[in-house]
């Protein structure tokens, strides 16, 4: 099932009046604290409206920024609200997706939503002897290690698992609440992987900061890197050339292909299907080698630059290698789709409903497999995507099988997009002239920009603010993993047992690094 979204004209929310010019992909508006709740409620009701991110910047006063994606209107709306006191209206009461960000803002800036809802620990470790630097002021009280009440017939208990867990996966601490086999509840703690990527970017030029942004989540180096580069370019008023943007799109689709192949291999591993895993890994290795010959790196590091790309794709290698690599993936997929014992294992496992996907602000293939046809390549096209018109693959069931089907449809679409990019000559013959000098570009202080890209896991968002000298005063990076881990809890709770958890984790294909960046 695929859907190409028509560009509809509808009445814009009242707050949009006077916010930027019509047709601009990003509108910015200022709003007083007193109006924040009413406007949030209106935007939450607006068709295609979702609270994509919430973060704070500056310290005196702290300015709260809510990024709304108005997908049907093809616009992002940034609402800036100065918060004078230590409290602001609780947005998560209206848009539940905001809760994790409210916790994060409390830890980093010391301001909290109104009410007495406990705010969870996100990035600060509980060890008393570790004091991490913050982006703003310290909170009055330390964040809580909140565990929801979890007693089922008086027999449920919490089974701690991690952070050192299975082999060759990232560290992650699970609190599994169970009455024996069925999962009653699940908590995830990730503070042990928080590397302070946003803090590190402060004082650097955007080009310098790109090094750590790419390594915030290595499996989304292009998705996150493009979002960050686009944000910096918007702040600096730079427009990369068409060939460079097509080069980015080629890298992004290659990133999607290898990630989906890796997810399918992981799904087979989680199901104990060694032959399927080997078949998917043959395809995965082919894609990684294709990345290496086309862009010079198996994981596409160091491809992007602020203002363009650093490495021009090797078109001949791409043209020659793509069909064989995709052929291996198709071969594995055809065999898997004919293996009933495998499909039965995925069916009805880890269900995310359409309602949950909307409420929790889920993105990417997890949302699309739950019937939400959101894809920034179609909804907020940049670079070549407005011409390519990517088809958005969706499924209705919301289970692991639906996510597998979405991955396969997206892989086919990525190959089509790459072939179109090769065929139309959009990739040109070189990388153009990227703006890769590390020298800062002076300008008015407070210049800022928003950037986005559809990473393999879904919408990556970045926001960059520059000071007078052209160095970063605040960088915000919101990889898709930040959003989708929230749906993971709910998916695991939906009538699943312990052995379903690895399958659900593989089908979400998230990284801990992406959320604990």
């Amino acid at each position: 099932m695929t859907a190409v979204r028509p560009h509809t004209s509808r009445r814009l929310p009242s707050v949009m009046a006077g916010a930027g010019r019509a047709g601009d992909p990003v509108a910015v508006t200022q709003l007083a604290e007193t109006d924040l709740e009413a406007v949030t409620a209106e935007l939450a009701r607006h068709p295609g409206g979702r609270l994509a991110d919430l973060f704070a910047a500056d310290t005196d006063p702290v300015i709260l920024r809510a990024v709304w994606a108005l997908d049907l209107d093809q616009r992002y709306l940034i609402i800036e609200t100065p918060v004078s006191g230590s409290r602001y209206p609780a947005l998560s009461e209206i848009a539940p997706a905001a809760f994790a960000e409210e916790c994060e803002i409390y830890e980093q800036f010391g301001i909290r939503p109104a009410g007495d809802k406990p705010l969870n620990r996100v990035a600060t470790p509980p060890q008393a002897d570790i004091e991490l630097p913050r982006l703003g002021r310290a909170p009055a009280e330390p964040p809580a290690d909140v565990h929801a009440p979890h007693v089922v017939g008086g027999h449920a208990f919490e089974f701690p698992f991690g952070p050192v867990r299975q082999v060759a996966v990232e560290s992650l601490y699970y609190g599994l609440v169970t009455s024996g086999e069925e999962l009653v509840d699940l908590y995830l703690f990730t503070w042990h992987k928080h590397r302070g990527v946003e803090w590190r970017a402060q004082g650097q030029t955007p080009q310098q900061a790109l090094f750590h942004i790419e390594r915030a989540e290595g499996l989304s180096a292009i998705g996150n890197g493009w979002a960050f580069a686009a944000a910096a370019e918007a702040a600096l008023h730079i427009e990369p050339g068409a060939a460079a943007m097509s080069g980015r799109a080629a890298a992004l689709e290659l990133e999607r292909l290898y990630n989906h192949a890796a997810a399918i291999a992981a799904l087979c591993q989680a199901c104990g299907l060694a032959v399927g895993r080997a078949a998917a890994e043959i395809a995965l290795e082919r894609f990684l080698r294709l990345n290496a010959v086309v862009f010079g790196h198996r994981y596409l590091f160091n491809v992007l630059a602020i203002g363009g790309i650093r490495t021009a794709p090797d078109l001949a290698a791409l043209r020659a290698g793509l069909p064989a690599a995709y052929g291996e993936l198709r071969r594995a997929a055809d065999a898997l789709l004919a293996t009933n014992s495998f499909l039965d294992r995925l069916e009805a496992t880890g269900i995310v409903t359409t309602e949950e996907a909307g409420r929790l602000g889920l993105v990417g293939l997890v949302a699309r497999a739950a019937g939400v046809a959101a894809d920034t390549r179609a909804d907020h096209p940049s670079g070549p995507y407005s011409g390519l018109r990517p088809a958005v693959a969706t499924q209705a069931a919301g289970d692991a099988l639906a996510r597998l089907r979405v991955m396969l449809a997206e892989a086919a679409e990525s190959v089509r997009l790459l072939e179109t990019l090769i065929g139309t000559g959009a990739l040109g013959h070189g990388a153009g002239q990227p703006e890769e000098s590390g020298t800062p570009r002076p300008g008015p202080a407070g210049r800022s920009g928003l950037g986005w890209a559809e990473s393999p896991r879904g919408e990556s968002l970045a926001w960059v603010q520059l000071d007078q000298s052209g160095r970063i005063s605040r960088a915000r990076l919101r990889p898709a993993a930040v959003r989708n881990w929230r749906g993971f809890d709910d998916a695991c709770r939906s009538q699943n047992v312990f052995t379903d958890v690895p399958i659900i984790e593989a089908s979400f294909w998230l990284t801990v690094a992406g959320t604990a960046r």
């Binding site: 470790p125 991490l132 082999v167 990232e170 928080h194 290795e285 990284t511 690094a513």
Partner: protein, 174 residues
């Protein structure tokens, strides 16, 4: 071949040295057929983990070399450490290392663990050797599966050295 202590007395006799050498080759043979690896992510970006998983893929197939992954540190001979050793994770890293039986090896894997990505600061120690005794370093960001295999094969030799340095004579000091 004989080894002497700082005081001049022999630690191993000729016969013992020959036995140790026999053991060394036996261990090389033995571990060559079942060296067990536990991985440890101390703050990586997930790319090193992906490359480590590729070791088991058909293109590389580390099992044919007698190397295996184990989820239990108590069964592990070798700790494959990725990431810049975040301070918040150091306690878990130490506990994992301490849970392993000796003789054991630590292999720092990837640019982060080697100190090439993060400076020592409030978040991280900056490299694995600040917390764990590293025996072998594997560079790369991330190291390719072939680089990992090469590093592991170097590590097997180092483990054999470690074992041959042990004294198996009751009452002897080393």
């Amino acid at each position: 071949m004989s080894t002497t202590t700082a005081g001049g007395g022999p630690v191993t006799t000729e016969a013992e040295a020959a036995a140790a050498e026999q053991l060394r080759s036996a261990v090389a043979r033995q571990f060559g057929r079942s060296l067990h690896i536990r991985t440890l992510d101390t703050g990586s970006c997930a790319a090193c983990e992906q490359e480590i998983r590729m070791l088991a893929a058909p293109h590389y197939d580390l099992h044919r070399l007698g190397l295996f992954f184990t989820p239990a540190p108590r069964h592990a001979d070798l700790l494959l450490v990725t990431g810049p050793m975040l301070r918040a994770f150091a306690a878990a890293a130490r506990k994992t290392y301490e849970a392993m039986p000796g003789p054991k090896l630590v292999v720092a894997t990837g640019a982060c663990a080697l100190g090439g990505v993060y400076q020592p600061d409030a978040f991280s120690y900056g490299s694995a050797d600040q917390v764990l005794p590293v025996d072998v370093w594997i560079p790369g960001c991330p190291p390719s599966p072939l680089a990992l295999l090469h590093g592991l094969l170097v590590a097997v030799g180092r483990l054999a050295d470690k074992v041959s340095g042990l004294s198996f004579v009751a009452g002897a000091s080393s």
